[in-house]
Symmetry: C2
Subunit: 197 residues, 2 copies
């Protein structure tokens, strides 16, 4: 029961991810997305787009990586993908501390499991981490400019198609179909006037 | 590319799960939870509480079941767990139609996969579906009355501990540790005055 009490404390702390606001808005533009919703959506993308993972990729592992990849934001907050490099470095340090605070609530065995998932995601070394990061990068592109997406020109007037693609290329270029999709979505947004070239 | 376009249409339709409001509030009582957040939290519970699944349970399958279990609410809405039986029957029919509308957006092969996940969850026949349903039932109990939970007496003055346990028992009693946890959480809520006996 002691162990289960630790699990409950952890799961209730995780509830706060629902209050971490992202810069991405829902597809209908009604409000900013939060990081819990984003994590769910990215995990659902892994299930849906599994065929685009290289052969041998463990998609179940990808799903787990995505379910937990933003948990540290509970303490560290969400950083805009186009933030300056220095802010990304500070964020990485804050997230490291956050991981110890949050995963410290868990029983020992699981603490290691969650730290391992986070380390794998950050290191980008496994096929699973690389596919997870590709989906993590693609999800806001789809929400913002996919389908009849409204874009974000009113909120982020300085964001250009060239800059979006430059910032997304690292995560996506190893997945040709997904990278082509992102480029296509961005090109359509430029054509429709929702994203400056 | 046609297939990928179908995937994008499906994933953007799924975005609307973030606008489906549940009767459960976030643990801090700040606002109602939505079904996308709930799905993420329940899937995270499967990873966290995996040791409480019977030996041989495929926890990765449980995670998938929970990621998609509420998708039909995009068309059918969310029903309160204490709603009358007649409303549950009408909801089941609405969800069946919703599944065909939503999964119809997917390429053929995946359409079958998503229908199979839904059928498995609804039939409660596999260990995976039963564990998924137990977590689905436990999650709002933890949010509402777990830890320093605020309860929901102001919103639902007629809800009693006896009724909560009667409605949760079917999903939870096969998982002794989780069922004991739920009973304990409810007993503490009664003791602290956040839930009438």
């Amino acid at each position: 029961m002691t162990t289960l009490a630790d699990h409950v404390a952890f799961l209730l702390a995780c509830d706060r991810l629902k209050a971490v606001t992202r810069s991405t808005y829902l597809h209908d533009g009604s409000r900013p997305e939060n990081s819990a919703e984003h994590s769910w959506h990215a995990a659902l993308m892994a299930v849906t787009l599994a065929e685009h993972a290289p052969a041998g990729t463990d998609v179940n592992r990808v799903v787990r990586l995505l379910l937990v990849h933003d948990l540290v934001e509970i303490h560290a907050g969400n950083l805009h993908f186009a933030a300056p490099e220095a802010e990304h470095a500070a964020q990485a340090q804050a997230e490291e501390q956050a991981a110890h605070a949050l995963y410290g609530l868990l029983p020992e065995a699981q603490r290691a499991e969650f730290h391992a998932l986070r380390a794998e995601f950050e290191a980008r070394a496994t096929p699973e981490a690389r596919f997870a990061r590709a989906l993590d990068a693609l999800q806001p592109v789809l929400l913002t400019w996919g389908g009849d997406g409204l874009g974000c020109a009113a909120r982020e007037p300085d964001l250009t198609a060239a800059r979006v693609l430059r910032l997304k290329e690292g995560a996506l270029r190893d997945f040709p179909a997904l990278w082509t999709l992102a480029q296509d979505v961005v090109a359509r947004a430029v054509a429709s006037g929702t994203l400056p070239a």
